[in-house]
């Protein structure tokens, strides 16, 4: 059988972002996939040499616009760990609230895009309509729809008033109700099941060995979520990772669907436990010499920051390992032996965030 080479991307209608895959195809069956990255590479890790450590928060928030809050929180937590700062409990829980709101909107966004990938455009519109409520919460409470920019070293910049907390709770109830209405469609619809069940299967052992992260890992049956570490405000909350065992595209979408509901629950818990108090502590001096390794859970999985300070206001080294970077090797292992028509679905099932990957 002759091999045909089909380029996938960089500009592809299914992918909002530029990534290129060279697919070697035999009779509509993909035999090999080779990625080509670098279309979004900016080189922001190097910026830590010319921006001071406070300004780097805004740069880190722009690693990825979808999970910007969590990048910012991860960076701030790393610097706080390096400098030995303990931030107020209220700031910790406020970070949790915004982080979980970000996770919700990211997952809803992904569920929409996923529906779009197999041609269910009405479902895409429905999910994005629900998502706008969360964007409104972000805009009203933090000042921007996407990049909320609430983190500072030592705490947070914005506060939530009791009125706003009540409003968030009522909006969350509406969001949860509307999401639950779509649960049956997403999990049991005949068309969706045909396009996702048994597609792109990855076993538990494979996922672990290839270093998959986040919902891709949990969809294969590994109960690992960085929030179990109890970093920041998660120490105050009850938390159980969401796990599915099938390891296919359906399992991964189900994990994300259930995580939307779980995040809503975490926001409620955080609001109920929100103590009164300061928003931030004063930070004096520069990050000392030393290194710090910090991991958080992003919507797409585990994100790792490695920071080396050198006693000046600029950092020596900032290394960001983002979840999609870890999920590309599993993707390369999933693609062979799938049908060409399933490629967009499988690529989207790892929730690719290319701007994260290439930084």
């Amino acid at each position: 059988m002759a091999t045909t080479v089909i380029p996938f991307g960089p500009q592809h209608p299914v992918l909002p972002e530029p990534v290129h895959l060279t697919l070697k195809v035999e009779d509509e069956i993909v035999k090999e996939a080779i990625p080509a990255l670098g279309y979004v590479h900016r080189g922001l890790e190097k910026l830590c040499e010319i921006r001071d450590f406070n300004q780097m928060i805004t740069v880190c928030e722009r690693v990825c616009g979808i999970c910007s809050m969590i990048h910012g929180a991860c960076y701030s937590q790393s610097i706080e760990e390096l400098m030995g700062i303990e931030i107020p409990d209220r700031a910790k829980l406020l970070r949790v609230i915004w982080s979980e709101l970000h996770r919700m909107h990211s997952h809803l966004l992904w569920l929409g895009l996923f529906a779009d990938a197999f041609g269910f455009e009405a479902l895409f519109m429905q999910f994005w309509k629900i998502r706008e409520r969360i964007m409104d919460i972000n805009e009203a409470t933090a000042g921007s729809r996407v990049i909320v920019s609430v983190n500072i070293i030592g705490g947070v910049r914005a506060d939530l008033s009791p009125d706003q907390l009540r409003w968030i709770l009522s909006e969350l109830d509406i969001v949860e109700k509307e999401v639950r209405e779509l649960q049956d469609t997403m999990m049991n619809d005949y068309t969706i099941k045909t396009r996702t069940v048994g597609i792109g299967v990855m076993t538990k052992a494979q996922a672990w060995e290839l270093g998959a992260a986040g919902p891709t890992l949990r969809g294969s049956g590994v109960a690992q979520d960085m929030r179990q570490q109890g970093y920041g405000g998660y120490a105050f909350l009850d938390f159980e990772p969401v796990v599915e065992t099938a390891g296919d595209c359906w399992a991964r979408s189900t994990v994300r669907f259930r995580e939307v509901l779980q995040s809503a629950d975490l926001v409620r818990q955080a609001i109920s436990k929100l103590p009164e108090g300061e928003l931030a502590v004063k930070v004096k001096g520069n990050p000392p010499e030393g290194e710090v390794y910090h991991r958080v859970e992003q919507p797409r999985g585990e994100c790792m920051y490695y920071i080396r300070g050198n006693g000046t206001k600029n950092l020596d080294r900032l290394r960001i390992r983002t979840p999609t970077f870890a999920n590309i090797p599993p993707l390369l292992a999933m693609l062979p032996e799938c049908e060409l028509a399933d490629v967009p679905v499988i690529v989207l099932s790892i929730d690719p965030c290319i701007s994260c990957t290439e930084r």
Binding site: M56, I57, A122, Q126, G143
Partner: protein, 172 residues
Amino acid sequence: MLFTPTVVKNLLKKPATRKYPFEVREPFPKYRGELVIDIDRCIFCSSCERKCPSQCIAVDRDKGTWQCDPYACIYCGYCVDVCPVKCLSMKDVHRKPSTEKTEWIEQGTPPRHKKKETPKDAAPKGTAPVLDKSAAAAEEAAPAATEVAPEAKAEERPAAKDKKKDEKKGKK
């Protein structure tokens, strides 16, 4: 088939669409929109310049200019937080799109320097070229406040300053 109830529900409900350019929603008061400066209150301390993560602000203390590249600004609001005299603020509406890149230079009186710089000489330098460019841009959207204003500002500013001087004199 399982999606049908949602479709029916959506069909019976009011449309979700916000008819944006025709009906503008009440903006959220906390929204970090367009950056504005009250140049008369600025003391040219350069705090905003140092703090800006995007390095888009340039303050010249000797000439008394405050310059910002609005197209590189990332609307983070750090300059607003750090400003000691609170002359910087952010509107709750976004900056309007334009068809030309314009420069944004504000001319104020530098502190302590006794050298009198009449705003009439200074205004054409920075703000006049902006004027005709933004005129083209302004025909569609509602006129952008800062760029279109210089004409008015150039006239207003001396008056404002005279008032202030008068006040000061009065106090003395």
